[in-house]
C-alpha cells in the first residue's frame, strides 16, 4: 500500500536519489492526516498517511504535544474501518505516539474489543498495544483476559500476553505475580517461543525466591525444552543456581552434567551458551573446562565470523585465569591472526600473548609485525598492552619485544597509540634493568621526530631521571640538546630542565652542560630563559667543577612527595603575607580509588604520569573545620582523621557519629549530631566521655554546641592529651548530654523552659590503625629497594582456617590500616598464594612498607609471611620485648584474626618508636 507517494520526477537520476518520501514535510503530512476524519474512509490512503507519519517519527522528527494529541484523536477514528492492514498500522501508530493516561481511555474500549476478537492477529496485537499504554487501574480490568491469553491455543496470542507480562512486571509486579499458574502452564507449551517467553516471565516472577528458581531449573533440566532460546535461558538460570548454591569443592558440581549435555545440542546458540556458562563457573576445574574448550575450538575454524568472534572472545577471557587450558587452541588461534575481521584477529593475538610460552615469543612477534600495519589504532593499543605484560612475564625476551615496540613507535599512529607504546617502554625500563639502556636510546630516537609535545616532555623528564644513572650519560646529551634547537617552547623548556639534571648528577659533564645552558639564555621564550638562569645559578654559576651540594640535588631530584592536586589547592588558598608558603603544610594523603581502578584496569597510572590525581579530600574539610576553632590551634598539624564511626543505630531520635582526629600529642573526637525529632530543640549539647579504659589519655577540653535544631547537623568536640608521638590506644564510653526544649510545630516558637536529658551512645575506640596514614607509593619495588633491609623484620604466621584467601588478605589489610599498592589487594579467584604490597606513614612521619605473602596450606589453612621495612632507626629495639609481643600476636592470629585488636601488631612499631624517642631525648 505504500506506493510511490511523490510523483516520479523524470529529470532526476532514478538510481541515485529517488525516494518516495522526497521533499516530505511534517506540516503537509499533518494536513493530510485529516483524511482520517472523512465519513467514507479510504483505508489505503489512510495507511499511506500513517506510513508517512511513521517515516517522519523514524527520521527523528518530533511532534509537539498538540500535534501528537491531534494525530492521536484522528487515528482513533480509524477503528471504524474493518480493513486489517489499516488496523495494523493504527496499532503501530498508537504505540509510537505513546498517549497520555487521559487519552488512553479513548482507545481502551476499541482495543478491548479487538482483544476478544475472533481474529488471532487482532488479539495478539491489541494485547501488546494495550499493555504498552496501560496503567495499573486499567490493568486490573483486563487482567482476566490476559490470563486467558497466556494459555491461548494460538502461540502468537500467548506470546504477546507473556511478553507484555514481562514488561508489566516492572511497573505492576503485584498483578503479574498473580498469573504464575497460567505462566507455569505455558512453560509446558508445545510452541517453542511460547515456552521461551513463559520461562523468562516465570523466572522473573520468582527471581527473589531462590528455592523456587532452583526447583524450576531442576524440573526443566530433566524435561524437554523445545526452543533453543528457551534452552539458553535455562542455561543462564542453571548457572545462577550453581553460583548461589555455593561451591562445594568436593565431589561433582550439581547440574554440571546438564551444562555439559548442552554442549551436544544441535543449535550453535545453545552450545555456545553452555560453553560460556562452564567457563564462567566459579572455581572451574580444568577437567570441567576441557569439553567446553573443545567445542569453542571447533567454532574457531567456523566459516561464520560471528561464531569465530564469540569463541575467541570467550577463550580470551578464559586465558586470563586458565592460560594452560587454552594452549590447545593455539594453532587454530594463530590462523585467526590473518582473519578478515580485525576484532577477531586482535582477540586472537592477545589470547596468544597470554597463553604463549617463552619459546613461542619470537615466532609470534614475527606474525604480529605483519598484522600491525593494517589494523586500527584502538586494536593496536590492546596489542601493545598485551605485549607489555608478556615482556614482564618473560623478562629474558625483552630484546625482541623491545625491538618490536621501538619499530611500531616509528610507524604512523595517533597520540593514544604512541602514548601506549611509550608508557610500555617506560615500564619495561623500570622493571627490567637490562632493558634500560636500549630502551632509553629508543626513546631518544623517538623524540628526534615526535609530533606530540606531551610525549616529548614526558620522555625528556624521564631521561633526566634515568639517563644520569646509566654507564655513559654523555651520549644522551646530544639528543636532549637537539630539542633546544628544533622544538617548540614547551619542549625546549623541559629539555633545559633535563640538561640541568645531568649537570647536577654527573659532575664530569657539568662544564659542558654549563656551556649548553648558557646558550639557552638567549632563547626567545621567557620560560626557557628563566629555567636556564635558575639552573645555572643553582648549579654553581661559574662553570668550575664543584661538588653539587645536597640541597640542589634535592631540589632537582627529590621527588615531589605530594599529590599535585593537594599542592594546587593549598597554593590557591595561600594568601601573600609575611609568612612564606610552607610546603610541609600540604596534606599528603591520597584518597584511594579502588573502585575506579577496578573498572579501568588498563588505565592505572603506571606510565609516565604523576601519581593518581587525588580528589579534594575530606581531610581538607576537617583541617579547615579544626583550624577555625581557636582551642585546637596549639595542637599542631593534623596527622589523620578517621572515617566517621556510627555511635547510634540507624533511625533513632538522635543520630551521632564520631570522627577521630589524631595530632602529635592530642586526640580530638568530633561528634556529628543530628536531631531527628521535629518538635524538639536541643541546647548545650555535650558528650560526656569516660576514659577510664584509656589510661594514657587525659581529657583537656570539651567544646559544647549551643543549640541543635531539628534536622540540622551540628558538631561538638572533646579533646584529649596523650604522650607525644605515642600510638596510645583505648576505649571510651560516651554519653550525650543536653537540654531539651519543646518547639511548637505550628508557630515554630520555642518554649523557655527546658529539661536536662541524657542519651547513651555506643563506645568509641582509638586503635593502632588510627595512627597509620594510608599513603601509597607509585613504584613499590623501587621504594622497597631504596629503603633497604637495614630495618627489616620478617615473621611468619599461621592464620588457621579461613573462608578464602581473599577474605584473609582483606582482614589483614584492614587490620594494618595501610594502603595496598599496585592493585595487590585483589586476589584472583582460585589462587593458592598471593603477595600483597602495603604502604603507609606511621605517626611521627615514619614511612612503613610491608610485603605480605599469603599461602594456602592444606584445605583452608592460610599462612602468611610478613616482611616490614621502615625508615625507623630503631633496629635493635628491645628484641626480646618485640618477640614476646609478636608471639602474642601470632597466637591471636592463629585463634581468630577477625576479633584481633590491631594493638598487638602495632606494639611492634610502638616499641620501635618509643625506643627511638628515648634515644633522641
Amino acid at each position: 500500500m505504500a506506493q510511490p507517494l511523490v510523483k516520479k520526477d523524470d529529470d532526476r537520476d532514478d538510481e541515485a536519489e529517488y525516494s518516495p518520501f522526497l521533499g516530505i514535510e511534517k506540516g503537509a503530512v499533518l494536513q493530510e492526516a485529516r483524511v482520517f476524519n472523512d465519513p467514507q474512509l479510504d483505508p489505503r490512503r489512510c495507511s499511506q498517511v500513517i506510513t508517512k507519519l511513521l517515516y517522519l517519527l523514524n527520521q527523528g522528527e518530533s511532534f509537539t504535544k498538540v500535534e501528537a494529541t491531534e494525530v492521536f484523536f484522528a487515528v482513533t477514528k480509524l477503528f471504524q474501518s474493518r480493513d486489517i492492514g489499516l488496523r495494523r498500522m493504527v496499532y503501530l501508530m498508537i504505540k509510537e505516539l505513546s498517549p497520555s493516561a487521559d487519552e488512553v481511555i479513548i482507545v481502551t474500549s476499541s482495543l478491548m474489543k479487538d482483544m476478544n476478537s475472533k481474529t488471532d492477529m487482532y488479539r495478539a496485537n491489541a494485547i501488546r498495544v494495550l499493555c504498552r499504554i496501560t496503567d495499573g487501574t486499567l490493568l486490573t480490568q483486563i487482567e482476566r483476559y490476559l490470563k486467558q491469553a497466556i494459555v491461548d491455543k494460538n502461540p502468537v496470542v500467548a506470546s504477546a500476553a507473556l511478553v507484555s507480562g514481562i514488561h508489566l512486571l516492572q511497573t505492576n509486579p503485584e498483578i503479574v505475580k498473580r498469573w504464575s499458574n497460567e505462566v507455569q502452564e505455558a512453560v509446558q507449551s508445545r510452541a517453542a517461543l511460547v515456552q521461551f517467553h513463559a520461562l523468562a516471565l516465570l523466572h522473573q516472577i520468582r527471581q527473589n525466591d531462590r528455592l523456587a528458581v532452583s526447583k524450576l531449573v531442576t524440573s526443566l533440566t530433566r524435561g524437554t525444552v523445545r526452543s533453543p532460546l528457551a534452552q539458553c535461558l535455562l542455561i543462564r538460570y542453571t548457572s545462577q543456581v550453581i553460583r548461589e548454591s555455593g561451591s562445594t569443592q568436593t565431589g561433582d558440581r550439581p547440574f554440571y552434567d546438564f551444562l555439559e549435555g548442552c554442549l551436544r545440542h544441535k543449535a550453535e546458540m545453545v552450545i555456545f551458551e553452555a560453553a560460556r556458562a562452564i567457563t564462567e563457573l566459579n572455581g572451574v576445574t580444568s577437567r570441567e573446562l576441557t569439553p567446553a574448550i573443545t567445542v569453542l575450538q571447533l567454532f574457531l575454524s567456523s566459516s561464520k565470523p560471528v561464531l569465530r568472534f564469540a569463541a575467541v572472545r570467550t577463550l580470551n577471557k578464559v586465558a586470563m585465569t586458565h592460560p594452560m587450558a587454552v594452549t590447545n587452541c593455539n594453532i587454530d588461534m594463530e590462523s585467526l591472526i590473518s582473519d578478515q575481521n580485525r576484532s577477531i584477529a586482535t582477540l586472537a593475538i592477545t589470547t596468544l600473548l597470554k597463553t604463549g610460552n617463552e619459546s613461542s615469543v619470537d615466532r609470534l612477534m614475527k606474525q604480529i609485525t605483519n598484522f600491525m600495519s593494517d589494523i586500527a589504532d584502538e586494536f593496536k593499543i590492546v596489542v601493545v598492552e598485551a605485549i607489555r605484560s608478556l615482556c614482564l612475564k618473560f623478562p629474558l625476551k625483552y630484546r625482541s619485544l623491545m625491538n618490536f615496540l621501538s619499530n611500531i613507535l616509528r610507524e604512523e599512529g595517533g597520540f593514544e597509540y604512541k602514548k601506549a607504546i611509550v608508557d610500555s617502554i617506560v615500564i619495561l625500563i623500570r622493571d627490567i634493568p637490562d632493558a634500560k639502556e636500549s630502551g632509553l636510546l629508543h626513546l631518544c630516537e623517538f623524540i628526534e621526530d615526535c609530533e606530540f609535545t606531551y610525549l616529548s616532555t614526558q620522555i625528556l623528564h624521564f631521561l633526566g631521571i634515568e639517563g644520569p644513572k646509566t654507564s655513559d650519560p654523555s651520549k644522551y646529551i646530544r639528543y636532549i640538546y637537539n630539542r633546544v634547537h628544533l622544538e617548540n617552547a614547551t619542549v625546549r623548556a623541559s629539555a633545559v630542565s633535563t640538561l640541568a639534571k645531568f649537570g647536577a648528577l654527573v659532575d664530569s659533564l657539568k662544564p659542558r652542560i654549563f656551556v649548553l645552558l648558557r646558550r639557552c639564555l638567549f632563547d626567545s621564550d621567557d620560560e626557557v630563559r628563566d629555567r636556564a638562569t635558575l639552573y645555572i645559578n643553582t648549579l654553581g654559576g661559574d662553570g668550575s667543577v664543584v661538588e653539587t651540594d645536597k640541597d640542589v640535588k634535592d631540589f632537582l631530584f627529590g621527588s615531589l612527595d605530594l599529590p599535585l592536586v593537594n599542592l594546587e589547592t593549598s597554593l590557591k588558598t595561600y594568601e601573600p603575607s609575611e609568612e612564606p608558603f610552607d610546603i610541609n603544610s600540604v596534606p599528603k594523603e591520597i584518597k584511594s580509588q579502588p573502585l575506579a581502578e577496578k573498572k579501568a584496569p588498563g588505565k592505572k597510572p603506571t606510565g609516565l604520569g604523576a601519581p593518581p590525581a587525588a580528589p579534594l579530600s575530606t581531610v581538607d574539610a576537617y583541617e579547615k573545620l579544626l583550624s577555625s576553632i581557636p582551642e585546637f590551634a596549639n595542637f599542631g598539624k593534623l596527622f589523620k582523621s578517621s572515617a566517621p564511626v556510627e555511635l547510634t543505630e540507624a533511625e533513632t531520635e538522635y543520630s551521632v557519629n564520631a570522627v577521630k582526629h589524631i595530632f602529635d600529642s592530642n586526640v580530638v573526637f568530633q561528634y556529628n549530631c543530628t536531631n531527628t525529632i521535629p518538635d524538639q530543640l536541643l541546647e548545650n549539647v555535650t558528650v560526656i566521655v569516660d576514659s577510664s579504659e584509656a589510661e594514657e589519655f587525659a581529657e583537656v577540653l570539651s567544646k559544647p554546641m549551643r543549640s541543635l535544631p531539628y534536622d540540622t547537623p551540628g558538631q561538638t568536640f572533646v579533646a584529649f592529651e596523650k604522650p607525644e608521638g605515642v600510638p596510645a590506644v583505648g576505649k571510651f564510653s560516651n554519653m550525650l548530654k543536653f537540654i531539651v526544649k519543646e518547639v511548637d510545630p505550628t508557630t515554630g516558637e520555642t518554649e523557655d523552659d527546658g529539661v536536662e536529658d541524657e542519651y547513651q551512645l555506643e563506645d568509641l575506640e582509638v586503635v593502632a590503625a588510627d595512627y597509620m596514614l594510608k599513603v601509597g607509593v607509585s613504584n613499590f619495588r623501587n621504594a622497597w629497594e631504596s629503603m633497604g633491609d637495614d630495618f627489616e623484620r620478617v615473621d611468619e604466621y599461621g592464620l588457621g582456617p579461613r573462608e578464602s584467601l581473599a577474605e584473609a588478605v582483606n582482614a589483614v589489610i584492614n587490620l594494618l590500616g595501610m594502603q595496598p599498592c599496585e592493585g595487590t589487594e585483589a586476589v584472583p579467584n582460585n589462587s593458592r598464594s598471593h603477595t600483597c604490597l602495603l604502604s603507609g606513614v606511621y605517626i611521627g612521619n615514619v614511612r612503613v612498607l610491608a610485603r605480605i605473602s599469603f599461602g594456602v596450606d592444606g584445605p583452608k589453612d592460610v599462612a602468611m609471611k610478613l616482611a616490614v621495612r621502615s625508615e625507623d632507626e630503631a633496629r635493635a629495639a628491645c628484641c626480646n620485648n618485640i618477640l614476646l609481643k609478636c608471639k602474642v600476636f601470632r597466637k591471636f592470629l592463629q585463634n581468630n584474626l577477625r576479633s584481633l585488636d590491631p594493638l598487638y601488631y602495632w606494639c611492634y612499631f610502638h616499641n620501635r618508636i618509643s625506643y627511638n624517642h628515648s634515644r633522641t631525648n
Binding site: R44, Q59, C232, R236, L307
Partner: protein
C-alpha cells in the same frame, strides 16, 4: 547474565548511513542526536567490511553489533556486551531474511522505502520492547503479510508459499494502483 536476552536496537541504514528504518529498545541513546551519532559511528566502522555472504560482528561502545549488507541496505542488530553473540546473529538473520521475503528478493533501498509499512511491521513482529518475539523469517514475513488472510487460520501454521503469495498479492495491489 540471569536476564532474558535483550536487543538494544535494530537499524536498517542505506549505503550512505542514512536511516531507512530504525528501532531503539533501550535508553542508552536518549536523544535523537545520540542515536544519529551512534548510527554514524557504527556505519563508518563497518562500511568497509564485507558482510554480504555471512553476517559480520563488531564491538563498539560496550555493545555487540552484528550486521549484514545486501545491495544498498545495511542491517544491524545491537545487544549488550555480555549478550550471546549467536542469539543476536539469529535475530539479524530473521530480520534480514524476512525483509528479503517481503521485498520479494528485491531488497534494496528504493524497494524498502516504497514498502516502508512492511518494514516497520516487520520490526514490530521481531522484537517487542527489547524482548525477542520471533526469529523465524518465514513466520515473521507471514505475520506481516497476513493482512488478507482468513481470520481463523493460525499464523504460525502458514506455509511460506502462502505467506509469499499474500505478500505478492499485497504488493501488486499497492503497486498497480
Amino acid at each position: 547474565m540471569e536476564s532474558c536476552p535483550l536487543i538494544k536496537n535494530i537499524l536498517l541504514l542505506d549505503s550512505e548511513g542514512k536511516r531507512v528504518a530504525v528501532k531503539y529498545y533501550s535508553d542508552d541513546w536518549p536523544t535523537n542526536t545520540a542515536k544519529e551519532t551512534f548510527e554514524k559511528a557504527v556505519f563508518t566502522k563497518t562500511q568497509k567490511t564485507n558482510a554480504r555472504t555471512e553476517a559480520e560482528i563488531a564491538m563498539f561502545e560496550n555493545c555487540i553489533i552484528v550486521y549484514k549488507f545486501v545491495q544498498d541496505l545495511h542491517f544491524f542488530v545491537t545487544g549488550g556486551e555480555d549478550e550471546n553473540e549467536l542469539i543476536l546473529a539469529t535475530v539479524l538473520q530473521g530480520f534480514f531474511d524476512a525483509v528479503g521475503l517481503l521485498l520479494r528478493g528485491n531488497a534494496d533501498k528504493k524497494e524498502a522505502l516504497e514498502n516502508l509499512d512492511l518494514i516497520l511491521l516487520c520490526l514490530d513482529e521481531i522484537v517487542d520492547g527489547g524482548i525477542i518475539l520471533e526469529t523465524d523469517a518465514n513466520v515473521i514475513a507471514g505475520k506481516v503479510a497476513s493482512n488478507s488472510l482468513d481470520a481463523g487460520a493460525s499464523l504460525s501454521e502458514q506455509t511460506i508459499s502462502q505467506a509469499l503469495a499474500t505478500a505478492r498479492e499485497h504488493l501488486t495491489r499497492s503497486l498497480l494502483k
